[in-house]
Symmetry: C2
């Protein structure tokens, strides 16, 4: 069955096109303000964003929007906004005060390549300009949609989403987490932005309430599958394949679902989660096949 290979190639081609769009948005000219962005700040933002990521979140945005006939070009500003948020979160999470990581995708993290202050500011600026991408006319002709996209990305990335999840993760390192606490933390830390990536696409496409609900469930289940696979890979994959330190959560005795329920149960749970993600897409036809493949890929990826 050649489907997974075809899908991987398709994702790679998207990542290449996406990197071109990302490159164009990360320039002193594109980062609009009353002054000129300092070169060092722009360089650090580029270092944190143009690092060969798989671009899974923007791919989800583009594919979800595509269900409604929105082209990749039309979906690109919203897709870039999601990736700006993802990249800012990696830069800040890697800081010494947080996860203290030196490597990210085989390259020095931003605070190692530059310094901590620059990394904090580069993250802040990526976070800020994510909303600039959504607010400008190029994102969507209808300002009501643009405002809805901003509200959606705030929900996915703020205190009740990704940033809140990172806070819970840090609290969990101190111990005392139940299995439910871990699940809630992961839903916020990783799941919320993946959910938003899908919902941004649905909002761009003018999804009905039923369609938005179905895609929200898909996003939640896909996000859960992604995190479960990540926890499993942390235990089983080599550092080389992942381009970052692995076994780290395990060494830190950081609570993960895998550490609680064991590898076999986690793999079964992962299978169920992918099944739930696919079930959520029942109302859609073959136009949703790429989203279906994406959920499978989240579970089967090797890095």
């Amino acid at each position: 069955m050649s489907e997974p290979e075809d899908f991987a190639a398709r994702l790679d081609r998207f990542a290449t096109r996406f990197a071109t769009a990302l490159d164009a948005q990360l320039t002193a000219e594109a980062l609009v303000g009353p002054g000129t962005p300092p070169e060092r700040l722009v360089a650090a933002m580029r270092h944190g964003a143009l690092n060969g990521g798989k671009r899974l979140r923007p791919f989800l945005t583009v594919e979800a929007a595509g269900l409604f006939g929105v082209t990749e070009t039309e979906a690109m500003p919203a897709a870039l906004a999601v990736e700006f948020i993802h990249c800012y979160s990696l830069i800040h999470d890697d800081l010494p005060a947080m996860d203290d990581d030196d490597l990210r995708r085989g390259q020095p993290t931003v605070h190692r390549a530059y310094d901590e202050a620059t990394a904090i500011l580069a993250g802040d600026a990526l976070l800020t300009h994510a909303f600039g991408l959504l607010a400008k006319k190029a994102c969507h002709s209808d300002p009501a949609i643009r405002a809805a996209l901003v509200a959606e990305l705030v929900a996915g990335s703020g205190g009740g989403g990704m940033a809140g999840g990172q806070m819970r993760d840090l609290e969990g390192e101190k111990g005392g987490f139940t299995t439910n606490d871990i699940a809630e933390m992961q839903q916020m830390k990783t799941g919320a932005l993946i959910r938003s990536a899908v919902r941004l696409g649905a909002l761009l496409g003018g999804a009905s309430l039923d369609q938005l609900k179905a895609l929200t469930t898909f996003g939640e289940e896909a996000g859960h599958a992604f995190q479960l696979a990540d926890d499993i890979l942390d235990l089983t994959a080599s550092s080389e394949a992942m381009g970052k330190a692995t076994g780290k959560d395990h060494q830190r005795q950081k609570p993960t679902l895998v550490s609680r329920i064991g590898l076999d149960a986690a793999r079964r749970h992962l299978g169920d989660t992918v099944h739930h993600a696919l079930s959520a897409l029942m109302m859609f036809g073959p136009e949703a096949d790429t989203l279906r493949q994406t959920a499978r890929y989240f579970a089967e990826r090797e890095n």
Copy 2:
């Protein structure tokens, strides 16, 4: 002449009303997302925001909007958004990797009261939710205005605004700054958000292009006056009056306009700047008197 006293009392009363609105927005319920914001994150955001600030930026937003008949209540979401940005910037600027400050308005800074990771995340979440305040319907009934407000605040606070200015400030500590470099840094670091605070009010009020242009100039000159006064106070005021360490820029030999041109020339320059700010408001009548007083207050304040 009792006018300055009356103005200070008016500003105080605004700060009290504003703190009530800020308090209501900094709760787990108000910080909307798919999950529940962790208590520790909300507490750190509150610590960083509900600290008795003078609320000058939101006051400018409310007063600028008031020129066009917008009520304080109507202008409040945009005013809160500006203050969220200001508070996030203080939390991040105080971090050990940045200015390394232990005190802010006489209280421990967020990373001292909590820890560095929590301070980074509290800043990130305040920054994120600032845009949530602007995107929601309560901010303005016209989504085109809401999108314009988001774009404006991105410009004022991102790489070409406040965050870029903080980066330039850190670079300036390494030396080699010309007087022009200092002016550009300060226009971005402090001026850009004050400019945006005024422009947000003008956009809320549906200002004409000429009115927006005049208010933009007012915001720029007022911001410049604010920064000049700050540099002068760093040299002349007591730590007690300021509620933070003073003389610190001087001790660090941090380049300021005052250190370049001297105290007397800086005071003259400050007088000229206030004059420029007042001139910019010529097209407005007595309804702009509070904005005029604000510019004078920026120059005459003692803390």
